[in-house]
């Protein structure tokens, strides 16, 4: 068998799922960087440890983000990955591509880099995996000429991402793609020149199924919803009654028990509905979101580092979102200004709100407190009052 110098990785060419080792070997055939990467990875499999040094600041002219510096800790063995930097290329919103665009990206990356990529990275960018410091600027020049730009990295606005939205999904309550593209184009400066306390992520899901995990993975989560009644097609309800047990699969699983099945007719008490999407998911031909559509805005979501993982919290229960999205952008800017002013280095928005209090945050950005923001009011009596609410002693 060929390539017996990677016996451990060879094991991962076996099996039915597509193998990344096959791709690495393919690239290694024509690219010395990819070849050294393959062999360094084999060494990691043997040693059970990564062989990349800590970070390193590299970039392209005019930008402070978009490139992740990476250096091998065994350049003696793998000189071609001594410097092996990643370039984050901002993906077309919704990850839609025409093949000519993808082919251009491939040609540029074969010319300048390892020929290996991630389609896509966790934040959403197309990840070009590994090139030398000298190639960064020429690669960026070629990318730019072909109509691509870099995404965010470091303490910057990270590349916003959105679900497939109205391009394909009948549940889209907002135009997640247009909002994402609009926000991305508006805040190019905030993406490319890191000037925040830490990273800031925006993700847009057009309904509460949240296909881009915005509630868990973004500092500012935009989740489509509606205010009026679920649209019902009773003829289609009756048709579903032929194939599924509506009582068991829909009514009994409704979290607020806001629906009743009378024979083959479905009655929804919309004032009790919390718009979770379950009934619509199960009967997409019969039920549709209401007509008065917009989004809930939530803030603070993040992974554990530093003070623990957070899910985003509701701060605007409903906002209508139509171009040019001024109300949304105004809110984003007020939030970022407050965080920028009070946040410590490497403190995410959610952690700052935890430290200073939601009450302080709401007042600073000018949002009224409403019951939709909490699961329950506080249970402790440690209540603050604003100085202006207290009667001054008259002397």
């Amino acid at each position: 068998m060929a390539n017996t110098d990677t016996p451990l990785l060879d094991e991962l060419e076996k099996g039915k799922w597509p193998s990344f080792v096959k791709d690495m070997k393919e690239a290694a055939q024509k690219n010395p960087m990819a070849k050294d990467l393959l062999h360094q990875l084999e060494l990691s499999y043997k040693d059970k440890i990564g062989h990349w040094k800590h970070g390193g600041i590299v970039g392209v002219k005019g930008y402070g983000s978009g490139v992740i510096g990476r250096y091998s800790d065994r350049p003696d063995l793998f000189p071609n990955v001594q410097a092996f930097h990643t370039m984050r290329v901002n993906h077309p919103t919704g990850w839609f591509y025409k093949t000519d665009t993808l082919r251009k990206l491939c040609d540029i990356w074969d010319k300048h880099g390892s020929g290996l990529t991630n389609m896509h990275g966790s934040t959403g960018d197309a990840i070009l995996l590994g090139t030398t410091t000298e190639h960064l600027q020429p690669c960026f020049n070629d990318l730019s000429d072909a109509g691509f730009d870099l995404g965010g990295s470091g303490s910057a606005l990270r590349t916003p991402s959105a679900c497939v939205g109205p391009a394909r999904c009948e549940w889209a309550c907002i135009d997640s793609l247009d909002i994402c593209y609009n926000v991305t184009m508006t805040y190019q400066d905030k993406m490319h020149r890191p000037m925040f306390p830490y990273k800031f992520k925006i993700k847009i899901s057009a309904c509460a199924n949240d296909c881009v995990a915005s509630i868990a993975r973004s500092d500012l989560s935009i989740i489509g919803t509606w205010k009026d009644a679920i649209q019902i097609d009773q003829k289609e309800v009756a048709a579903y009654a032929e194939t599924i047990n509506i009582q068991k699969e829909v009514c009994d699983l409704c979290p607020t028990r806001c629906m009743e099945l009378n024979g083959r007719e479905l009655k929804i008490y919309d004032e009790d509905c919390t718009r979770c999407m379950h009934c619509i998911n199960v009967m997409p031909k019969a039920l549709r979101p209401g007509k008065e559509r917009g989004a809930s805005i939530l803030v603070g979501g993040k992974a554990p580092i530093v003070r623990g993982a957070l899910l985003s919290w509701v701060v605007v229960p409903f906002m209508k979102l139509e171009p040019p999205y001024d109300e949304l952008k105004d809110l984003i800017e007020r939030i970022q200004d407050w965080w920028d002013e009070f946040g410590k280095s490497r403190e995410r928005l959610g952690e700052l709100i935890q430290r200073l209090g939601m009450r302080v945050f709401l007042k600073a950005v000018g949002l009224p407190a409403v019951p939709q923001m909490v699961k329950a009011p506080r249970t402790n009596p440690y209540v603050f009052f604003w100085p202006e609410d207290i009667k001054k002693e008259v002397k």
Partner: protein
């Protein structure tokens, strides 16, 4: 000549197939025709067919070109990637589905990942390209997907099962709200290199980086000291201070978390909770990790009701039942000792014996 800056990504509107351009925002309903094949029907009566295929995510330019060849042959060059790294070919004609699937199968692409299946595993870089990993990412994912392949190509589970892997606590893969999360962990304290700290680290930010206050500045020697008893090995200090390496090949490994979700359907979004505190790194195929995840999937599949996600099933039957059904030992590591730990302690006399 300098490159044009701040031009932003290519406009997605130029990437949409004509059938989408004609029906943008007008979709009425959809149906999963079979695993991996979605049909969306518009008000106009037109339909869009999406065929979903699995991908290793780490792909070569030649692989991308192969995907392009397939898309050009079958769907005029229009495709997309999903938020879970699958590839979707976008067709405007039902008759194009079977020839496309035949070609995908012949070239070794799994077709599936829709409905009540296990879709592709969202994961991070691992040893391939990260400087803080406690395990590899692509390797364990490949080893696991080989074993649960049929759950990708069938849709026979009670509900979707979303699996994610992050190779350290930074969680670039944001695994903290997954049905099953695989998380690389360190288990030993950072090895502070006092000779390098003064030159490469900023002491106040290194001290501030520690979530448990285990790091103290030693201003006299321009370095830091670590209180070993307070350190829970998150590695955040290493991110800030390169002179505090934490990787330890003998003790790094993987923890398994269960029951998270991001969707609001039925129950509210939830965090994943600790199921298995530690499994060894055993490349190239991580058998302990693969078997542990398979066991959880199988127990879930045979006990959960239709539409019940892993976390919803566990909440219904109780965690004590989860541990007895899966045979996973419960340890003192399962009991939280970070901020807000007491919120997870039982404050009632209601529990099951097993």
């Amino acid at each position: 000549m300098a490159a044009r800056t701040d031009i932003g990504p290519p406009d997605y509107k130029t990437m949409l197939p004509p059938v989408i351009q004609r029906n943008y925002g007008k979709w009425l309903w959809h149906e999963i025709l079979k695993p991996g094949v979605l049909m969306h029907v518009s008000q106009s009566g037109e339909a869009l067919y999406s065929v979903r295929a699995g991908s290793p995510r780490l792909v070569s330019t030649d692989h991308i070109r192969e995907i392009c060849d397939i898309a050009e042959k079958h769907c005029e060059g229009f495709l997309r990637f999903t938020s879970r790294h699958n590839i979707e070919f976008l067709l405007d004609d039902k008759d194009k589905i079977e020839p496309l699937i035949a070609e995908l199968k012949q070239r070794g692409y799994p077709v599936g990942g829709t409905g009540h299946s296990i879709s592709n595993i969202v994961h991070t870089q691992g040893w391939v390209h990260c400087h803080t990993p406690a395990t590899d990412a692509s390797g364990p994912v490949k080893a696991l997907m080989d074993e649960i392949y049929d759950h990708f190509t069938n849709s026979k589970l009670p509900a979707h099962v979303r699996i994610a892997l992050a190779c350290c606590l930074n969680m670039c893969g944001a695994v903290h709200c997954s049905d099953i999360a695989i998380l690389g962990i360190h288990r030993t304290v950072p090895k502070t290199d006092n000779s390098r700290v003064p030159n490469v680290c900023e002491i106040p930010s290194t001290v501030a980086s520690c979530p448990t206050g285990a790091i103290r500045g030693d201003m006299k020697n321009k370095t830091v000291t670590v209180n070993d008893e307070k350190c829970m090995y998150c590695g955040n200090c290493y991110t800030v201070c390169p002179a505090m390496p934490i990787a330890d090949p003998d003790n790094d490994g993987i923890s398994i978390w269960v029951g998270g979700k991001v969707s609001n359907a039925r129950s509210a979004p939830m965090f994943s909770k600790l199921a298995i505190p530690f499994l060894p790194n055993n490349p190239p195929r991580w058998p302990e990790v693969v078997n542990a995840v398979k066991n959880i999937i199988e127990v879930y599949a045979s006990h959960a009701k239709k539409h019940e996600r892993v976390g919803e099933w566990i909440e219904r039957v109780g965690w004590e039942r989860f541990f007895s059904l899966t045979g996973i030992p419960f340890t003192d590591q399962h009991i939280d000792d970070f901020d807000l730990a007491t919120e997870t302690f039982r404050t009632s006399a209601q529990f099951k014996w097993r």
